[in-house]
Every structure is written in C-alpha cells, then in structure tokens.
Subunit: 205 residues, 2 copies
C-alpha cells in the first residue's frame, strides 16, 4: 500500500501488528479515528501508554490487578486453600462470571507447547509447585483448554504435584449443556460415557 | 464483563469503540499487548496521538497529506484539469494503485445519505462546485460506490455542475473482470447491456 501520509502509514502499521487486523482493516480504523474528536483519539492512544506503564500483577495469583493483590485474592470470603489453574486472565474472568467458584486462581500465563517452543519454564509452573509445597493448599483444579497443549500442561503439572498430598482434580469434560448428542464428536462422547457422573451432579447450574 | 483492572477495562473500552471490534476481541488484543515490550506498546499508543495532532489535509483535494499539498496535487506531471470525485482516501489509494489515472482528485469525505442524516452540506460538495466555477477544469469523473448513497451523491453533484460547461463522466459500470455472467445480478447485467461500449474499450487494463 502506498500511503499519502507517514502518520497514517505509521498508525496503520501499528494497528496491523495486532493479531487478526490486516492492513485494509487497519486503514479503515485509522480513517474512522480521523473523523473523531481530537480529544477522544488522544485518550485512545494514551490508554495504551497508561496500560503498559501502570499495569500490576497480583503477587499471589499473577492475575492482572491495579494493586498488590487482585480482587479475588484480597477477598477474605474466598477459600485460599482451593486453587484453580487457568491459562490466562480471560479464563479467570469467564469462571468468575459464573459466580459458582469460591476458591482462588493461579494464572499460568500460557500452556506448554513444544511445537511453539513453549516449555515448562516459560509458564508459571514452578511458582505453582512452590505454592503447593509451602502453603496450606487442599485442592488444585485444572481448568485448561481440552487441547493438545492443555492436556500436555495438565499432565506435566499432575506429575509435579503428585505425591504432595494435595487433591488434584480437573473441570468436568463431557457434553456441553444444550448440545445434541447426534452432532457430538466421538471422542467427547466416549469420554462422557466412560467419565459418567452421578445424575444429581449433571444438572445445569 | 467484570474486569480485574481499571487500566485493562479502559484500554478494552477504547479499542471496542472502533467499528468491528467487540469487547471480547478487544480484551484478546489488550492481553496480547501486555505480552509485548513496554516500548512497542508506548509507540502504539503514541502513533495515534501523533496522528490526530499532526495530520494535515491537502489544500486542493482535501486528501490526507503530510504537507500543504498531497503527493498527487504537488506532482507537476498530473493533469489538474481532470478531477476524479471520490468518497474517501481509500478509494483514492485504490485508484492510484492502478497507475492508470493521471488526473487529480477531490475527496468528498462522505456520501449524501438522508437515512443517516448526511446532507450535501456535510460533504465537500460546495468546494467542488467552487473549484469547477473558478478553475480551469475540463472534466469531472464520478468514482463513487454504486450504492443508493453513491447514486444520490452523483445525481446531486451532476445537477449542481450541469451547465458549467465541464464534461461530466462516471467510471464505467458493468461486469467486473473475471466475473461469470451466470452469477451476475439482473440489475448489473441489464445496465451492462444497455451501457455497452466499443469492444476496444472493454479490454482489461
């Protein structure tokens, strides 16, 4: 693309470095911005500068936080003996929005993926092992994606935590609520049959 | 969504105000940024602040430019007596990339759309009429989208310019190069038949 302005070109390049935004969409967005109030575009740009300069991570769960401990970790009503292991803050936010979970979290910051060169040292695995070793942890719940990477990470953590005396569980795998069995893939169906649960446990929350 | 940080919430809100970006995608992008170098995120934010503060518009065609006249208008090889009327800079960039057009442009900055409350005074229609009245303009070429809004704008400008002695033309409407007639809509097909052109003119450039 041959841009009529270096400023536009720069803004387009910056936007199109984000995942899922191509040069054409980026140009459309930049032209949209040029139609906005100067003040609001300045706020837009400034929000990212503030973000990267002032962001904090919770000292306990490594979640994003505006203070030393995140809202969950600093809430005295939460059960700090139960730790839910999640890939990132998005999963934590999704579980929080169910309002069913009363424990705390441990944010790995990624999943083990040899294909992408991500090993155990690239995620917060050691921090979890230390936490379980030192703290009064009763249960660890794996809540990772049911993908190759999620399963690899689950298995690695399971091996590291096994023998520490802590209860290790995984969120249930089975048929999603609202799904029709006819269209469910064989692996999920087979897993759901072999991992059948007491009827009362299977009711939608 | 219940955000664990005001900074993240603010950045997500800013991004999701852009057309086509929802809250979920915005959060994904913000988390992506948090994994980048501090410096690169600062540059990202700063590019928009620079953009909105330093952007210039060409005094002749109203296109985006880093100096008083844009690259096209300041090029002595361009034919300033032929003006191509376009909706925005994206169309100008698309036409420029064909390298077939040697005239200059007039950027309307929008299309007349009564449904959206956009009237002739909200686009640079008067500026075009003045330009044709005052300048040595020989031909005006309408290159607007073949939509209701484009057609309305074409018609309005045609009525305003009619009688000024300037030649008024429109980019050809017909079957796109590479299209199969079998799948072409009836209106395009009918227009293409009634607006048939000498064979030599119809060859792909």
């Amino acid at each position: 693309m041959n841009f009529p302005s270096k400023l536009v070109e720069n803004a387009v390049n910056q936007l199109s470095r984000l995942p899922g935004i191509g040069k054409r969409s980026a140009l459309r967005l930049v032209l949209h911005m040029l139609k906005q109030e100067k003040n609001s575009v300045e706020q837009f740009g400034d929000s990212f500068i503030q973000l990267i300069n002032r962001i904090n991570y919770c000292s306990r769960c490594y979640g994003i936080s505006d203070s030393e401990f995140c809202e969950v970790c600093s809430n005295p009503k939460r059960d700090i003996e139960t730790i839910c292991i999640v890939e990132d803050i998005r999963v934590m936010m999704a579980i929080e929005s169910t309002m069913q979970y009363k424990g705390v979290y441990h944010i790995l910051g990624g999943l083990i993926s040899p294909m992408d060169g991500v090993g155990p040292n690239d995620i917060r695995a050691e921090e979890l092992v230390e936490k379980v070793k030192n703290g009064a942890v009763k249960e660890v719940i794996f809540a990772l994606s049911t993908t190759m990477e999620g399963d690899t990470t689950n298995y690695y953590l399971f091996r590291r935590l096994k023998g520490s005396g802590v209860k290790i569980s995984s969120i249930a795998r089975g048929i999603a609520i609202g799904d029709e069995l006819e269209y469910t893939d064989e692996i999920t169906l087979a897993t759901a049959i072999s991992s059948r649960m007491p009827y009362e446990n299977s009711l939608a929350k």
